[in-house]
């Protein structure tokens, strides 16, 4: 079976790096992006199973990423992370069909569990 592809977008390198390292250990294929623009560019040519994105970024933010992903690939799952747990935004995002919403720091185990659930492989 082909590996599941995960896109991670965060304007801080350390977040993408750590996510990549931990998710690759679980057998995912991970690509990281430091801003929304480069991620959208990549999405033109590649579909990912899961997109994990920071909400607040300069330029193209997480909500814009979400909308684009949902337009291009309705079945791709989006998980939102952000520095502050802002409920209003969370609700708006959820209405827009975000699979999960995590305030930073994000417990990696929880992120992994959420991804597993999203991919429907939790019950194996």
């Amino acid at each position: 079976m082909a590996k599941h592809g995960i896109m991670v977008i965060d304007d801080e390198k350390i977040v993408g790096d750590m996510a990549k390292l931990s998710l690759e250990q679980d057998g995912y294929e991970v690509e990281t992006f430091l801003n929304g623009e480069s991620a959208l560019e990549r999405l033109k040519t590649k579909r990912f199973d899961v997109v994990v994105t920071d909400l607040k970024m300069k330029g193209v933010d997480g909500l814009e990423v979400l909308r684009t992903v949902k337009k291009l690939y309705p079945t791709t799952v989006v998980i939102m992370i952000t520095a502050f747990a802002n409920l209003d935004v969370a609700i708006e995002a959820l209405r827009d069909d975000v699979h999960d919403f995590f305030p930073k720091p994000v417990k990696i185990k929880e992120l992994k569990a959420s991804i597993k659930r999203a991919l429907g492989t939790a019950a194996k």
């Binding site: 965060d10 801080e12 390198k13 350390i14 977040v15 790096d17 750590m18 996510a19 990549k20 390292l21 690759e24 992370i81 520095a83 930073k104 720091p105 994000v106 417990k107 990696i108 185990k109 992120l111």
Partner: protein, 858 residues
């Protein structure tokens, strides 16, 4: 009327004691210290957890968390200063030092270090970043391996930043990622024309003045790049400039320095950085100023021949300076040395050596024809080849990877090593890894498997060093596998140099465990049998996975290691992660343990945790002293009441009580008071628990060190004055408040409680740290206490042998019930660490305690 009496009284006491504030004011400061310390410790354990590798975090989180911690400890410190009348000014300095170290790591864009120049002998492992890889590695050869390297100093990355800042070039760096060739050329031109900040010039001049007399008349330096990661994880070989034969003058070195710095921004170097995933504008460059060796001959050593044969090393040699060999200008002599048990020259080829590079004094260097009679001579004798090989083998061993080493020999035959860096290996590509793995691992006997707890995962190999005595710690070779009966915080200083740790007994929550995780040292504890199964000196490979999944193979399983290296290449990119995590080293470790020891001094405070511990101890002491002084003053003036009392307890504990008002029943007083006379509601509740039948047991515990018991419960003679108050058990008590500091042997309880009819105001803070038994047992005791306290709804944070708990908002009755239980817990757990030899015991005894059964026996 009462007011004026108080005024008058304050005046008297004020005159008597240097305008000291009154007890109530002191007490408020004390409470603020307690509160600040608690917030600090909570923030500390919280941060430790979030930065531990189980969470995705960004630098904003780290900054925020640290800011909270710093605010808390600063708050605590300012009230502490007030309370102790600025008796410990050193603490402020210590905190400032810690803060600057942490800030430096948090502000990755800016090295704040004031050190612009560092001489090689002063380069320690924590300076690797500041002096860059090349300087660091060369200094390490001299400092750790006692290998001869030339006189040298480093110009730090802080100097680099200062130079760029001085010339207004920082903004240009920000846009570097997208810069084209023309922009880079512009930047290089600006650097080559750049001026130097005054302090840079001064530091350089001073360094040159120091080094000049050591080098003699024709002193000259090589000024070379030493970028942060250079020669470390990534080789950057040949990417940056080296300027040879630079006269020892400030002007000449600055000129060369500009060239070296400019080379960081050559188009080829920038594209190389981009390929490696570096952000080019972020890389900082240190420089090395290394004395030129007037080389008779020089060359290069590959400790793995042809970049792949690890059983042999190749040594090349040619007349003159090494540049001839490095740049491939000349047909050098070539020696092949077999490594094995004993080094042996197995092949020797004398090259043509037509050209040589020579030093032209102040005029730089020159390539000349080698005189005919010299060409046919071999540069090195057999003995010299073997000596070089021996040093190279030691270096390879030290850095745990094949090395590419430059050497030079001066006219008197003294050999110097000039540079060492990881040799790029031609690894065979793996075609069928799964199959190969099965075959390879299958060939190696499994010595240990799956019985134990993995603290840090990873695959590594090395020679077993079975540690029987702590003082042998120094003898463990770098890159060894430390095998010990117990885990120990004492291993910490060796950890950065070890390849792995395996213990018979231990817990994944210990201080040692957290350091192992910080340094990514594969570690397995609680194997039960490592010291009996593994042999001293045996070569093993450890592969540690999740949970209890691990295996120790006999021998070096190359395949597994190769696999690990591929993973590690990714780990190394998490430079930011390591950096941020490293902050905890300045915060969490507790070095000050016993207040009765000389070591318990402001000078010994190294971490935030130390500061907290020290401040609490001295804050209590200051209050006791003050109360005593005031008591004496009052007694003399009025024959009146002293606020300081000694409690008569039916258990062997001496406890001082400072009455803050309402701490004793109306009418009670005198030097000694009985439990019944205590008026403080919370203190009464705690004492009721401590004195509950069966809780306070003195028998049956085989505690190592027989005199511990006597030290355990002593309250020092009050007539003795300040010094002897260290470590005293003290209760500061008001009608609705108590703060108790109890030190039993090597552990410390702090309980702070407000217990009134207004639930909103009520709280209990509890802190417990330390113990005399092993860290394993101590953390078991913490687990037990946490289990019990969690039942009452405490918010708890635990790390190693520290437990911090907080509870608030309950009504008075509930608080009193909990305090009673806490009094029992304090009494009950006092020597419990000596007993908790298994995790099952923790559950058993916690269950019994909750059921009101205080027996220890199985």
């Amino acid at each position: 009327m009462a007011g004026s009496l108080l005024q008058w009284f304050k005046g008297i006491v004020g005159r008597e004691h240097g305008a000291a504030p009154d007890l109530a004011e002191r007490f408020r400061a004390f409470q603020a210290v307690v509160e600040g310390n608690n917030r600090t410790l909570e923030a500390m354990t919280e941060m430790g957890e979030k930065l531990g590798g189980d969470y995705l975090f960004d630098v904003n989180y780290t900054r925020r968390a640290y800011a909270e911690l710093f605010a808390a400890i600063s708050d605590s410190l300012s009230h502490f200063d007030q309370l102790t009348e600025h008796r410990y000014p050193q603490l402020g300095e210590t905190l400032a030092r810690i803060d600057s170290l942490v800030q430096r790591m948090l502000t990755s864009d800016e090295a704040v270090s004031s050190r612009l120049v560092v001489f090689y002998p002063e380069i320690t492992w924590d300076l690797a970043e500041e002096v860059g890889g090349k300087n660091y590695h060369l200094a390490e050869l001299a400092n750790s391996l006692q290998i001869r390297v030339p006189e040298a100093f480093a110009i730090t990355t802080a100097a680099f930043s200062a130079f760029l800042r001085h010339n207004g070039l920082e903004e240009r760096l920000a846009g570097l990622a997208a810069a084209d060739d023309a922009a880079l050329a512009g930047l290089r031109a600006a650097i080559l024309a750049g001026g130097f900040p005054e302090e840079f010039t001064a530091a350089l001049a001073a360094a040159l003045a120091t080094i000049r007399p050591r080098l003699g008349e024709e002193a000259a330096l090589a000024v070379r790049s030493s970028a942060e990661e250079e020669d470390g994880d990534f080789s950057f070989a040949g990417q940056f400039e080296t300027v040879l034969n630079v006269p020892c003058t400030t002007e000449a070195v600055q000129h060369a320095y500009r060239e070296v710095v400019a080379s960081l921004f050559q188009a080829s170097a920038i594209s190389y950085q981009r390929q490696l995933g570096f952000n080019p504008g972020k890389l900082k460059m240190a420089a090395g100023c290394v004395a030129m060796i007037n080389a008779k001959c020089s060359g290069v050593i590959y400790t793995a021949a042809a970049g792949k044969d690890r059983s042999r090393m190749a040594i090349s040699a040619a007349w003159g300076l090494g540049k001839g060999v490095v740049d491939g200008l000349t047909d050098a002599d070539l020696y092949t040395v077999a490594k094995g048990e004993e080094l042996q020259v197995v092949e020797q080829r004398t090259g043509g050596k037509e050209k040589m590079v020579v030093n032209r004094g102040g005029q730089g260097i020159e390539t000349v024809e080698t005189p005919a009679e010299q060409r046919v001579l071999a540069c090195l004798s057999q003995a010299e080849v073997l000596e070089l090989a021996r040093q190279a083998a030691a270096i390879e061993e030290h850095f745990k990877a094949p090395q590419d080493i430059e050497w030079a020999m001066d006219n008197s035959g003294r050999c110097y090593l000039l540079q060492t860096r990881a040799l790029r290996m031609d690894e065979p590509t793996e075609e069928a890894p799964a199959l190969e793995q099965a075959a390879v691992a299958g060939d190696y006997p499994v010595l240990l498997r799956d019985q134990g707890v993995v603290v840090q995962r990873g695959t590594t190999a090395g020679k077993v060093f079975i540690l029987r005595q702590l003082d042998e710690l120094e003898k463990i070779p770098k890159g060894g596998v430390l095998v010990a009966r117990h885990d120990s915080p004492h291993f910490v200083r060796a950890i950065p140099f070890l390849n792995a740790i395996i213990t018979d007994v231990g817990v994944p929550t210990s201080h040692m465990a957290s350091i192992c995780r910080e340094f990514n040292i594969p570690t397995v504890v609680n194997t039960g049998q490592a010291t009996t199964v593994l042999r001293h000196g045996q070569e093993i490979t450890l592969r540690a996975g999740e949970g209890s999944e691990f295996a120790v193979y006999e021998g070096i399983v190359q395949h597994l290691l190769r696999e690990e290296r591929q993973g590690a290449a990714r780990l190394r990119e998490l430079y930011e992660f390591r950096r941020q995590k490293y902050i905890m080293r300045h915060i969490a470790p507790l070095n000050l343990v016993n207040p009765l020891e000389q070591e318990f001094s402001p000078e010994k405070c190294q971490t935030v945790h130390d500061l907290v511990r020290f401040m609490h101890e001295k804050a209590v002491q200051a209050l006791v002293e003050f109360a005593e002084r005031q008591g004496r003053g009052l007694a003399r003036l009025f024959g009146g009441r002293t606020p300081l009392h000694r409690l008569n307890l039916p258990i062997p504990v001496q406890l001082l009580l400072i009455d803050l008002g309402g701490g004793l029943q109306d009418g009670a007083g005198g030097k000694k008071v009985d439990v019944e006379q205590v008026g403080s509601l919370p203190l009464r509740a705690v004492l009721a628990g401590m004195l509950f039948p069966g809780v306070w047991q003195n028998e049956g515990l085989a505690l190592s060190g027989g005199d511990l018991m006597s030290a355990m419960t002593r309250a020092t003679d009050l007539t003795g004055g300040g010094q002897e108050l260290a470590g005293t058990n003290v209760a500061l008590a008001g009608r609705e408040y108590v703060n108790m500091s109890l030190r039993f042997g090597y552990h410390f309880n702090m309980l702070d409680c407000y217990c009134s009819d207004k639930p909103r105001n009520n709280h209990i803070y509890f802190r417990f740290v330390g113990g005399a038994a092993s860290i394993t047992n101590r953390s078991r005791r913490i687990t037990l206490m946490a289990q019990v306290l969690a039942e009452y709804g405490f918010a708890l944070k635990a790390k190693g042998d520290l437990l911090v708990g907080r509870l608030s908002g309950l009504d008075r009755r509930e608080i009193e019930t909990i305090l009673d239980q806490m009094g029992r817990l304090i009494g009950y757990t006092r020597q419990l660490d000596a007993l908790l030899d298994s995790d099952e015991m923790v559950n058993t005894l916690a269950g019994r305690f909750q059921a009101g059964d205080y027996r220890f026996d199985p």
